[in-house]
Amino acid sequence: MAAPALPSRRTSRGRPRRLDRAALTGVLVREFVNFGSYWRASAFSSTVEPTIYLIAFGFGFGSLVSKVNGLDYVQFVGTGTVATAVLFSSVFPAMFGTFVKYSYQKTYDAILAAPVDTEELVTGEALWIAARAGVFGCVPMLVAIVFGLNPSWGMLLVPFIAFLAGFGWASFGILISAVMKSIDNFSYVTSTVITPLFLVAGTFFPISGLPQWARILANVNPLYHCVQLVRDAVFGFHWLDFWHLGFMIAFGLVAWRLAILRMEKRLIT
């Protein structure tokens, strides 16, 4: 084995750039290969819970209210819980998974010793979680079809919306894990940020019936915009959807850059 007589070929490719594809691929491949060993649990928790919400609310409220904003309740909640599935399958894996990887398993130490920078690491992780959210997010909608949601062409856009929202929430989760000193502190964020955002998003009831302050709150809630966009993709777009889309893109960008910044502070000493 001629170990060190090594390929100037590999080094002559020039100085690696920021966010280069080889680094992102490496991070994604690691996640993909690992996914093979835990995908069942992950798919289960990410899809079963929103589906339970869908069925519980669908039958529970569905027997009280027949129509919400002109939609059958099952249609309303079937599209709304897409956002719930996206949230659950992105923010929690991002928070816990990231913390475990950098704090307990020291995985990130190994990755950063390779030609991968924190920016690429965080971006790759967020893209991976977003891709999963794009798939898992569609599950409640598919279940709702069984319960009477009519298929439409717009549904084909839902995975992309779920991906975009998933990217934002994954970045947000990575940011939280970079800021928190201990994994126990995550419950503060879950109770004070994620649960309220989850409830005031127009998933189970329209925000139009809420007091004004709650409506304002809903408008700065990225999840609300995801709910609206998914619903409109299924039932017909509206000019307001540019605002929803714009807000989700802005949320994703801000959360992504902040996650990189804080993670760098955490990992590079």
Binding site: M1, A3, P4, L6, P7, T11, R30, K106, P115, L267
Partner: protein, 300 residues
């Protein structure tokens, strides 16, 4: 004459964490194709130094050059050409041996057509070919450590950083790893290895850098360091604590360098002793004498 392009060159490197100065004006050179051992007690700044070489820690002062790349700006290019064996096992435990190597063949940008061969070669180096399908959490501690080394070698790096490569392993496994590292060195890779095992440094390193409190307190070939700091022979005097104190006083009176080793007092440079010397066992001076003399013992 200094090598014109060493694998690693540190000049006046300082790294502080709050009030603690982990690395304090450290100069360090790893000439191309040699193995340098960073020998020092826990907390001497060895791991911090290694982290700075991958830009996972950023120096507050000084210059760092790795394989001709200036850090931290060009660290990514440097990292592409080096392999790092961390002190803590950070393998993906639910993956197989082969999957761990596959992941790193991507992270280290091995072209698709060479990937298969690179993984096989790494498996051979670490003698893990027949365990390629085993999950990491089924491996013994020694195998896991070999896999960590294989993972760092999958892209045939020009430089390998080993952070305490045999810490916490039993002696047999340690021997096995030494053979592996020695082969790596023979094949021409440059190696920087941190360790607090004297024997490890003595056996593997061409040059030993003794570090204490973030500074290099001695640099040289192991045998030269022994000759320079501890002389040729050491005299071990055994006895109860009271007797040992007495011996130390006598030695101090004569200006003989001593060191304490639990159950004995060692008088260094025993070859120069005159008739006043206490009764004891003479032995050849070793690197441990130098180490203790330079890094910790109060009595010099």
């Amino acid at each position: 004459m200094p090598d014109p392009s060493p694998a690693i060159r540190l000049r006046g490197v300082v790294k502080r964490y709050g009030d603690v100065t982990a690395v304090d004006h450290l100069d360090l050179t790893v000439p191309d194709g040699t193995c340098v051992g960073l020998l020092g007690p826990n907390g001497a700044g060895k791991s911090t130094t290694i982290r700075m070489l991958t830009a996972q820690a950023i120096a507050d002062e000084g210059e760092i050059e790795v394989l001709g790349h200036t850090l931290p700006e060009d660290s990514k290019a440097a990292r592409a050409e080096m392999g790092v064996v961390p002190q803590l096992d950070n393998l993906d435990v639910t993956l197989t041996v082969e999957q761990n190597l596959l992941v790193f063949s991507y992270l280290y940008r091995i072209p698709r057509t060479e990937r298969r061969a690179a993984i096989d070669r790494a498996l051979d180096v670490a003698n893990l070919r027949d365990r390629r399908g085993s999950r990491v959490d089924e491996l013994s501690g020694g195998m896991r450590r070999r896999l960590l080394i294989a993972r760092a070698l999958v892209h045939q790096p020009r430089l390998v950083l080993l952070d305490e490569p045999t810490v916490g392993l039993d002696p047999q496994v340690r021997q096995e790893l030494w053979a592996l590292i020695d082969r790596l060195r023979t094949e021409g890779a440059s190696i920087l290895m941190s360790t607090h095992y004297i024997e490890e440094a003595e056996r593997l390193a061409d040059t030993v850098v003794v570090v204490a409190n973030g500074q290099a307190v001695a640099v040289g070939r192991p045998s030269d360091l022994v000759a320079e700091h501890a002389g040729a022979e050491a005299l071990e005097v055994y006895g109860p604590p009271a007797r040992l104190r007495e011996v130390e006083e006598v030695a101090q009176g004569h200006g003989w360098p001593t060191r304490r080793t639990g159950t004995s007092v060692t008088i260094l440079r025993a070859e120069d002793l005159d008739g006043d010397a206490p009764e004891g066992e003479r032995r050849v001076a070793n690197l441990e004498d130098v180490f203790v003399l330079l890094t910790g013992e109060e009595i010099a």
